[in-house]
Symmetry: D2
Amino acid sequence: MINGERTISQPLRWGMVGGGRTGQVGYKHRTGALRDSTYRLVAGAFDLNAARGRDFGINLGVSEDRCYATYQELICGERSREDGVDVVSVATPNFTHYEITKALLEANIHVICEKPLFFSTAECEEIAALAERKELIVGVTYGFTGHPMVRQMAAMVARGMLGEIRLVDMQYTHGFNAGDDADAPDAVKWRTNPKTAGATFVLGDIGTHVYYLSEIVLPHLKVEKLLCDRKAFIPSRAPLEDHATVLMHYDNGARGRLWVSSVNAGNMGSQRYRFIGSKASVEWSDSHPDQLIYEVQGEPVRIMHHGMLYLEEESLAIDRMGALHTEGLGDSWANIYLWIAQAIDAKARGDEAFLKTHHYPGIKAGTDGVRWLENCVRSADAGAAWVDFK
Amino acid sequence: MINGERTISQPLRWGMVGGGRTGQVGYKHRTGALRDSTYRLVAGAFDLNAARGRDFGINLGVSEDRCYATYQELICGERSREDGVDVVSVATPNFTHYEITKALLEANIHVICEKPLFFSTAECEEIAALAERKELIVGVTYGFTGHPMVRQMAAMVARGMLGEIRLVDMQYTHGFNAGDDADAPDAVKWRTNPKTAGATFVLGDIGTHVYYLSEIVLPHLKVEKLLCDRKAFIPSRAPLEDHATVLMHYDNGARGRLWVSSVNAGNMGSQRYRFIGSKASVEWSDSHPDQLIYEVQGEPVRIMHHGMLYLEEESLAIDRMGALHTEGLGDSWANIYLWIAQAIDAKARGDEAFLKTHHYPGIKAGTDGVRWLENCVRSADAGAAWVDFK
Amino acid sequence: MINGERTISQPLRWGMVGGGRTGQVGYKHRTGALRDSTYRLVAGAFDLNAARGRDFGINLGVSEDRCYATYQELICGERSREDGVDVVSVATPNFTHYEITKALLEANIHVICEKPLFFSTAECEEIAALAERKELIVGVTYGFTGHPMVRQMAAMVARGMLGEIRLVDMQYTHGFNAGDDADAPDAVKWRTNPKTAGATFVLGDIGTHVYYLSEIVLPHLKVEKLLCDRKAFIPSRAPLEDHATVLMHYDNGARGRLWVSSVNAGNMGSQRYRFIGSKASVEWSDSHPDQLIYEVQGEPVRIMHHGMLYLEEESLAIDRMGALHTEGLGDSWANIYLWIAQAIDAKARGDEAFLKTHHYPGIKAGTDGVRWLENCVRSADAGAAWVDFK
Amino acid sequence: MINGERTISQPLRWGMVGGGRTGQVGYKHRTGALRDSTYRLVAGAFDLNAARGRDFGINLGVSEDRCYATYQELICGERSREDGVDVVSVATPNFTHYEITKALLEANIHVICEKPLFFSTAECEEIAALAERKELIVGVTYGFTGHPMVRQMAAMVARGMLGEIRLVDMQYTHGFNAGDDADAPDAVKWRTNPKTAGATFVLGDIGTHVYYLSEIVLPHLKVEKLLCDRKAFIPSRAPLEDHATVLMHYDNGARGRLWVSSVNAGNMGSQRYRFIGSKASVEWSDSHPDQLIYEVQGEPVRIMHHGMLYLEEESLAIDRMGALHTEGLGDSWANIYLWIAQAIDAKARGDEAFLKTHHYPGIKAGTDGVRWLENCVRSADAGAAWVDFK
């Protein structure tokens, strides 16, 4: 159980690019980073509006001289200090991830970046090589996957409690974009524009969360073939999509179904996962994340609750609130941020043995997401045809 | 509201072929038929074991001389009586549906048949022509679709409460065949043998229920293209399938997803339907059939309950138990049987005007199900390729 | 599993008093009685409006000469026939139960009566003595208690699966009478008038269902002390109540809480029961009756579903639809009617050994309900004071 | 919406007494305090074991010289510093609350104390007078009541959306103490000992949470009469209780039911609240806190979700994660800590106008809880008799 004690040698000096007052996601980064004596927020280029960003940063306790107008100024300013930032989070629109990450790494700063990581696997591989050369960490904020019950699913699959995996059914859908985008906020507009979002809308925005979670639970399975049928029900979003179904064939013969949509009108159920084996299934939803449904064929359905001693040790180890007390998405982000901090700490210590088995969403996870998107787009562009996964 | 009063001129003299003591489905037919003063069970060839069938029939109140050994004897015996059966239900394995139905119609007896109706649309069309010539009804027992909340969904779509239909997500899955069939009961064995089941297992056995329900709710939409990916996770079931995903493109641009499986280990959720429009969605599951989830984007989720006055008149008209009092699958079958009886009654009176607008699962519904199966198999056999629906 | 085969020597000739076209409950009796080849409806005094009652009876298949204007005529007419009714159901307002039941028994006709049975235990005891002398059965339609999952709870308690019973929490509440009664239908008006309803409204109308269900699950516990706090939130209902809380102390030290109300605005949850033992609890609601929640302290919550082989034999024996297929309130009534038929059949055969162990809601169950009401009223009238149960 | 920006003039220098490595509740305080740039943890007497406490404090980032062995040393040490603590949280067993709070106030330090606040209203009133004289704040950590959906319920009642309040049904039950205490951890043992826990176990430990939440939602109602029936199912806990039912009569004629228990075997449902008015009801459970059930009689049941724009402004103002993203108990604690910080800040500024309308759980809330406990015990000791609330 996590109680906030520091598990790394020194708190990390932390900065942010983006995540300012008008953003949706900045607080999730901060509420994830700040509760464990692990990160101290000391610098930021929070906002394209420099004055607003400075005012914002001061309110977060950042000293005025470390509230920068641009990420370039941040890098420049921090490099010139003895106590410059160790790590910077990038919470900006997709099209800026690559250039900011690259610049930070070149300045010897670890990076924590939003998903989808970059626009292409080529970019990912270039950055991976750069990070390796620099001996730096690139973490990716797949924020939902820090929940203890996600680890519980992974542990149950690993222990064989489900038998051989046969079917995977996954979805992340909502209805917040069911109407057209005429009056949509900027956070929608850049997501539906290929120049700022990349080659996908919902596949990248929410589908990469789903794909990564499936990788965690099913690390032993590989996708062999894939079919992606996508559509923009709001025509202005084309060629990007607001709905997509992806069918997958895994190398063990299992079949996968994945659905993402932002036009599922009224839906509050959001993410749902069902992993089906020859003996049993597990089902989890982020709308009631503290419980897991475990169904052994022919036995009563079991509902497992976070923090209970019958859970696997991997789940209990990362519980924060204890049984009966709800964990929220912020607690999941806190675990993600903690794991990335532990990776950075190990990297700084040169502890490659630790890093070999340490679990966190890093450059490989980010790259896998981008590769999956490329395969989806390739299939969709071929008329929703089956393509070999590569 | 239905209170059991007779709505047809005379109770129908009713017989059964199959549905005996060891069958799974016979009681569903009887509990559906016998509660409304509409049918009287007077004859039967209930069982391949003639003695057991006779004993069984007597226990159901059938006189011994009308408990027959075979359907041929039933037809012969009943034709020779003044008070012979008006209608016979066929609750036998798939491969016998065609020949029994044909023989009954030729003997001027109305038919109520289990799904999937026959093995091919050619057979369906031949029987449809025969029934038309003979002026007889062929009903098909899509037993779930008599529930008041299914009618409620159809009425809401018809009134435009969802806006334009965009997405349809449907499933009927369970895990009762997750293990192999070595010790399976006969009811499983004939379903996985192409000779007795036809060209499909779960697509026909449970998928046709789903497809028919979608036709009721979305009568204005037609499938244009379809892709079916099917697999037998238990190899002995091949070439039939125990899992299939079907993707559909409708003529209005809507997208459909349909999943059927009998290897969804542990799953008790069974049937789930979600119809998504530009404004709102409705969701219904047969595992909690008395309620409907109605979700208007941007408003609180609404849970509607059967029997409540805020429902559409089509739903309230067929409610049997009243609000707060659970309706079961038997109540749904009772409505199906009632509607078929009303069709038979109208046919007998020559009331074609009534039949034009009267809703019941008849030969067209049965044919549509078989046609859908043919398209699914064609796609699956082409490597889960897209096929034009025909 | 029940498949509709007759389990008694001869179908019972059955009549009804009340339950006509405008009543709420008549169809529940008929849908319960008519599906098992056990009862045949042959006579009735269905309605205070004789012409409407006759028309209604004919539509139910009763011959015109056996559609009577009053219960007295029914008794007179049926006594004069060789094939007169064996048993009559009484589905009339409370204040008529006693006189109709008495008259039927004196005419040697078995009785199935609505709850609450009579106005006083004195009346109950008089009728019990009369029934015993006449060797006749009085059944009481506690219609919810025929559900397989209610039997499952009873079996689990009997097997010690819960440990020693400590707490019982029960409720039956709805909001259909949250508004005043100015425009209420007759079915509400007679229920809130002491002359026609007796000394209670919701305690008798719905509370007796709850108390009887608790007797079935906990036959070994006796109430020692009781406190009833009741109130009419709609003043015109006083001195009767539309809300009551009853606290009970059982002879083993267990504590009970029971809540009934018809002013629980908007509530569709209706009946809920939780039986808590030293090791585990079971919980059941009639709004989702096919499942049972079984909670062993320290283990995952288990959801049990009707018809599954892991259930106790008492539950499986009375299942009608099979796993996955919802059972409704009508199926529960069907079991109640079947059990009463079996009691009548045994009584006719003089099989007292069978009757000693046969479970059905009879005169004792009806009397217990009335006794409980008397204790509740005594406590409430003493200012919601504790009273010894007697 | 809360985004972590500082809303007070200066971050508060914060200390803790108790809440060390082996405690259950310390992390909840820290995760609540540390995410909003509002508190900085600078001192602590975390543990009765001084060495363990010092090690723990250092891991939390507290400098070694401010990790104290006792609360007395903490007060002494911090008073001697220019940058001594502004406020200290007391997370120790009940019997120490009074003396520690008193000592802190006398040293001019604000206090945030666990519930139940003290052993008697006399103690509460003495401390209230002391705090007033010293111009200091005493906050009480009713940690569940910071959830946006609790505020939503209060706002809905205030706006009259429920009509006149009639019924209140509340419970906080679990089964973690269903077994005996032979091997129980210290956290259970001190809670069942009157010397360390006071006059109650579950009434104080969990019931005070429930009572305070009801005060927030129903500030206009006062309890007039009360009856408390309590029992120790594990005899060693007597005279304290592990189960209690409290009935309440409010001054507007409403009726309340409250149930607390720690022997509700297997129960994971925990807290449940239902507020019932003449027009509608609201229901909320902390096991799925992001949603609220709003039921208007005669309309579909509505499920409201946190963060949605249809909610009242009081709820949206304190949302942290945004719609679809689950809020946990930690987010609720964060709001409580923020509100107390705002009170301390206002007190420091002498802004009594702000304090008059500012909502936070302070000394009055703590006192009300203790008064309610005294009334419960008085009733229980009189044989579960009705007592006038005083």
